[in-house]
Symmetry: C2
Subunit: 151 residues, 2 copies
Amino acid sequence: MRLSKRGEYGLRAMIVLAEPVEKNAMPVVQIKEIALREQISPKFLEQILLALKNAGLLHSKMGVGGGYYLARSSSEITLGQIFRVLDGPVAPIKCVSQMAYEPCGCPDEQTCGLRLVMGDVRNAIADILDNTSLADVTKRQVSVRKKLGIK
Amino acid sequence: MRLSKRGEYGLRAMIVLAEPVEKNAMPVVQIKEIALREQISPKFLEQILLALKNAGLLHSKMGVGGGYYLARSSSEITLGQIFRVLDGPVAPIKCVSQMAYEPCGCPDEQTCGLRLVMGDVRNAIADILDNTSLADVTKRQVSVRKKLGIK
DNA sequence: TATAAAACCTATTGTTTTAGTAGTCTTTTC
DNA sequence: GAAAAGACTACTAAAACAATAGGTTTTATA
């Protein structure tokens, strides 16, 4: 039940891009800056951000002083959207996937016990990922920092 | 976020083994019988059942008329136990694993937004898997069958 | 007591996925 | 027009996955 490095890095990068920008800062962030901050290979991250851009979650600016920025407000982008672009369906088994259903080959799908439980698991994961926006994540980070006495 | 075939087949097999035995039926079930019912390669299933046996979830009887049976009552074996034997930790990322923690390499683990959310995901999955026993699964199957007008 | 049926165990193999590297092309600013 | 940035495509090494293969041991029973 593993998140891939691709998914991990992509989610990390999106969280960085969702951070409230300081005064006078550029609205766009460059690949190499994110890569440096999050300790990710810049070329690998490039592919990931490109995929997120082609999926419509990011916009970019080419050329000198260019970089990436969120395509929508951070409260309108969910972790579920990001996850699905990078790692595919959330469901642990194809036959319970809402977005990419396929039969899983069990004798009788309707009464398959495994399917019933995995359906619950899928819903539990999707509930979290689809109802958590990037803004929710940054809000939570802020409150954790406050609790720990700023930083 | 995928369940492996190994995990899928193992869980299926355990559910079969948890089914209430008919009168006069042998208390043990053979690999090939399960393989046939669930459409699994018998040799692959053999490895899986062996792993479950070595983990203490199954017992076996060798020789003619042998086979496998649950090591404990079906209400005392959870899907979480089976899953972990076959697919490893439930957590989507190592740094939120309760059973097999490892740092994940983010700059600051305490305030890592991804880690906060993935912790929730881990807990949601573990809540289901660790609180669902094989007996719960078979009970649920029965009630689904009843609802659909027996079968 | 020989035979066949069953689990036990280990090694090997082919395929797919993963995680990354490399290199060229295009756009933009100065 | 040079440099800085993203866009795109191809490739590759290593690991994981899904089996397959084949011999060993145990046990019931004919």
